[in-house]
Amino acid sequence: MQNNENAPVEQHDSDHPTPAKYIQIAVILTLITAFEVAIYYVDAISKEAFIAIFIGMSVVKFIIVAMFYMHLKFDSRLFTYLFIAGLILATGILLVLGTLFRIFT
């Protein structure tokens, strides 16, 4: 059994972002979302370009939240590997199902 009673309960890195940094990150996330919605109403862009832009911006937002708000950038690499393993498996499911049922064609 793990004895957490004797272990230090808190475990933090001193280089976690400051509240001001968290607010800057929130502004960036909001701007990306606003840009996504604004571009949605532009008629001159093809559907393929829309999909590429939306997925690209979604990935950027995902990475920013995971790195800074979920502290993966500052925490043990083991957490990052665990999470990436889950993401790879999830993407695999998506691609396999998509190929099997021809979602992408």
Partner: protein, 205 residues
């Protein structure tokens, strides 16, 4: 199973085999499994969204302005969550209470938007039993909403427990808040993907 290190714990490391808190490790393992859960639901949605033999279709019912607003609300709740954790780590309990309550309120607001959206869809004739688009849409967004609901209950519990400690100190420790924060941010990034795939991409003509 013994998990004690044979050496004394260094500063910032725990006396476990990994040197990491087991609860945090468990939370990340859970979140990795949740990636599979939501990945499967999103894949199922993509499979069925255009397979309905009758309407309404995604292009007919999805309301981008409303969902953009609820997305903004959820993104803002992620900010208030990290500010709550930051306040707890600084020992600023009053700020912690304000931010954790704000996060719960924003989460509840997001749920309000979801209820509004579901009601609108039902009024327009889209129910889970209407067609396969409806079934996959309500399953995916419903499960996400259930996760948000659980998160709001968790946040409210932390808020209430912040008044229950001894000597003016809250009963919760900052690791408790960090674990709730990890869950909350995960729910947020899942919504980032759902907003893009289900709403923006699926509603394109």
């Amino acid at each position: 199973m013994a998990t004690h290190s044979t050496t004394a714990p260094h500063q910032g490391h725990l006396a476990t085999t990994t040197g990491l808190d087991h609860r945090k490790l468990l939370m990340w393992t859970f979140l990795a499994s949740e990636c599979l859960f939501f990945g499967s639901l999103i894949a199922t949605f993509l499979l069925f969204k255009d397979a309905s033999v009758s309407g309404p279709t995604p292009q007919e019912v999805l309301n981008i302005p409303v969902t953009s607003t609820s997305t903004f609300v959820l993104l803002t709740s992620s900010l208030s969550m990290v500010l709550a954790l930051s306040a707890m780590q600084r020992g600023d309990i009053v700020s912690y209470r304000v931010w954790i309550l704000a996060t719960a309120v924003l989460g509840a607001t997001f749920l309000g938007f979801q209820v509004f959206e579901f009601k609108e869809f039902i009024d327009e004739g889209l129910k889970p039993s209407t067609n396969v688009f409806g079934a996959s849409f309500f399953t995916l967004t419903g499960f996400h909403g259930a996760h948000v609901t659980l998160g709001v209950i968790w946040l409210m519990s932390l808020f209430i427990f912040s008044f229950k400690g001894k000597d003016g100190k809250p009963a919760s420790k900052s690791l408790d808040v960090e674990l709730a924060g990890l869950y909350w941010h995960f729910v947020d990034i899942v919504w980032v993907v759902i907003f893009t795939v289900v709403y923006l991409i699926s509603s394109l003509e």
